[in-house]
Amino acid sequence: MNRFDVVVIGSGPAGQKAAVGAAKAGRRVAVIEQSRNIGGACVHFGTIPSKSLRERAVERRKFADRLAALGMPSEAPITDVAGLIGEMSDVIAAHDVYMAEQLHRNGITIVRGRASFLDAHRLRVTHTDGSTEILGGRNFVIATGSKPRMPANVAVDHETIFDSDSILSLAYLPESMVVLGGGVIATEYASIFAVLGVRVTMIDRFPTPLGFLEPELVGAFLQAFAGYGGTFIGEADVESVVFDGVSAVVTRLAGGREVRSEKALCALGRRSLLDGLDVDKAGIAVDARELIPVNEHHQTMTRHIYAAGDVIGPPSLASASMEQGRRVACHLAGIDPGAQGEWLPTGIYAVPELASVGLTEAKTRERFGSAWVGFARFDEVARGHISAAQNGLLKMVASPDRIVRGVHVVGENATEMVHIAQMGLIGEATIDTYVENVFNFPTFAESYRVAALAVAAQLDAGRSTGAKNVA
């Protein structure tokens, strides 16, 4: 039996950071990875591929729009999916190499195989050829991630009806596509395919997609989505999704409505990936949502075994998983990881991008009695016109003491812009901070001043946002 100080199961964002952190602290570390490549679903099916595809789709769309603006409309639709995917594969390969090198550089042993607990101190690893080996560890980190949730009424076949792991195996752009769901993954892919010219219909049980975001952002997203030819059907109960055996996927909704499309994508969330891990043999019980409960140090109920990333549940963001992995490594090494950051930004790589940090208007009102809100539209800042990216806005929410409590952005560079607000939140910046300090011109960041000035004007006039300041 091969013994290690720390055995990390999974090499995604959480596992990788935990492994590298533990190795840097002098621990003898092994990472067990069941895939051929390092990085987990984040690199191979999720975060990196979808963002990479998005960038390329937007580039092509902008190019086509620019040609049209110059009086040279392109007749050819964007159909070179193979090219798009090929470019995306290059990004993934580069990332894979970088991560594998990082593990090697830190002296971490990579074991390819599927792990299952024999007891709380030993794992059996099964290799693809069926051979097995036993690994022992003083500590373990479960970072096995998640996989797409497959509702029984959706007949995913990876040929006509895809899940979020198989959608990027498409060889050509379909004429039409139904996207089931209204969450982050659904919204991202729906808008990307719409930008590429696919007639997309998003179907969800909630009235709007991305219901956790500010309504103004969702409204801007839906407006852009409709502009790309997309349709959103909300408050819909999906009864079944099947390929009709001829040429169409039929999505049947309660009430008798049917939506026919060439392909469909089921993006109705993900579930923790614990198949075959036998965590019960290590004394760990999963909760009702099949997630592993952990304490503030990410220890499971078997204290020398940690869990991080998607297996412990929301927020299920790569960024959060990395931080969880780092914290695990710190706790293992007896190092103070520092205070848990209160302000976790959310980024949605749809077209347009959406991002949010801090409190919403409603939460601010709930907590502070009233909310003072300012908007900056990208068509009011020079950079929006220069970059032909006027379809965006920034919403700033402040409490009566002038402290900015939340910033929400939709539009180009939203996922980058939101970090200004994150730093402001940490320092409890007031609206005056944004008014009195100079930003580069012309930039999208100028929107912060515009929005802050709008809030300041209301505060100075002694009025908050109408009924919104009512406690």
Binding site: Q34, S35, R36, F45, T79, A82, R114, T126, H127, T128, D129, G130, D157, H158, E159, D165, S166, S169, L170, A171, Y172, P174, E175, F243, D244, G245, V246, S247, E262, G276
Partner: protein
């Protein structure tokens, strides 16, 4: 025959085979290998298989232009696997029953079988190659599904991976004074079929993943482009070959280099091989 005479005969055969080898090499190097025209229906179907916007009426019209193909398709759709309660008597009805994609696959397979996989002097070898092509296509789809690779491309890659076989045998028939032994013919195929198939693939303007598969299916690790499609087809062919030879054993399939390359664990292989009855039925129906 004396030892000396036997040795002389062996040297004669060896020289004879070397001559054929030189001839085939020259044919391929000079691009003088006789390449058949792509069957019309296959060309149409292929041109649409990566751009699925045609309608059922157009597909039915295409197939109906070839009387023998149309009757072949109807025979297949009325086989026990596909036939429902009522007999299928029209192509539109067949499409409505089985779907565009399935009818495309059937039409493509049938047209290639009728036009390309024919070679009287080596018919048993050609028949076996055709069986392997079909079986590889069906298994490649299942492998692709299991690995989240593209299922439609996998079928094409599997079906066309050995399209060079009838070409080489056709060239042998023209060059050799008499049909070669099976073993000698196989040696020539091992040496030339991938190159001949690649020539044909380029001439027919087959999709790039298919050409890469034809060229590298025997050495998937060397494929620099479309490596995923090549390795999926390699696995599909290996499983198909095993099925044609006898019972499918998961323990054996798990050891295949391509299966390991695709990261399929024994559990995944067991799940994959559960499609064996469906594949077998499809084989029987499409070979009807």
């Amino acid at each position: 025959m004396s030892k000396g005479a036997a040795k002389g005969a062996s040297q004669d055969v060896s020289a004879y085979l070397s001559g054929i080898r030189r001839h085939l090499t020259a044919l391929i190097d000079q691009g003088a290998l006789e390449l058949p025209l792509m069957p019309g229906v296959a060309a149409e179907v292929l041109s649409r298989s990566l751009d699925d916007h045609s309608d059922a009426a157009r597909l039915a019209q295409l197939i109906s232009q070839d009387q023998s193909l149309a009757s072949h398709v109807l025979r297949i759709v009325n086989s026990p696997l596909f036939r429902g309660a009522t007999e299928i008597v029209a192509l539109r009805q067949a499409i409505a029953r089985l779907g565009m994609e399935r009818i495309r696959e059937i039409a493509l397979s049938a047209s290639l079988s009728g036009a390309i996989f024919k070679q009287a002097e080596y018919q048993p070898i050609v028949d076996r190659a055709w069986q392997l092509a079909l079986c590889s296509a069906l298994w490649s789809k299942e492998v692709a599904r299991a690995c989240r690779r593209n299922v439609e491309i996998a079928y094409l890659c599997g079906l066309l991976h050995n399209v060079g076989v009838p070409l080489v045998l056709g060239a042998l028939a023209g060059v050799a004074k008499a049909p070669l032994s099976s073993a000698d013919a196989q040696t020539m195929l091992d040496e030339f079929s991938a190159r001949a198939g690649t020539l044909l693939g380029k001439n027919w303007k087959l999709p790039d993943p298919v050409i890469a598969t034809i060229e590298y299916i025997g050495a998937f690790a060397q494929a620099t482009e479309h490596a995923d499609a090549v390795v999926v087809a390699n696995a599909g062919r290996a499983i198909g070959d095993a099925m044609l030879k006898g019972p499918l054993l998961g323990s054996e399939i798990s050891k295949l280099a391509s299966i390991q390359h695709l990261n399929l664990y024994p559990d995944d292989v067991t799940a994959l091989l559960s499609a064996r009855d469906t594949v077998r039925q499809s084989m029987e129906s499409m070979s009807a």
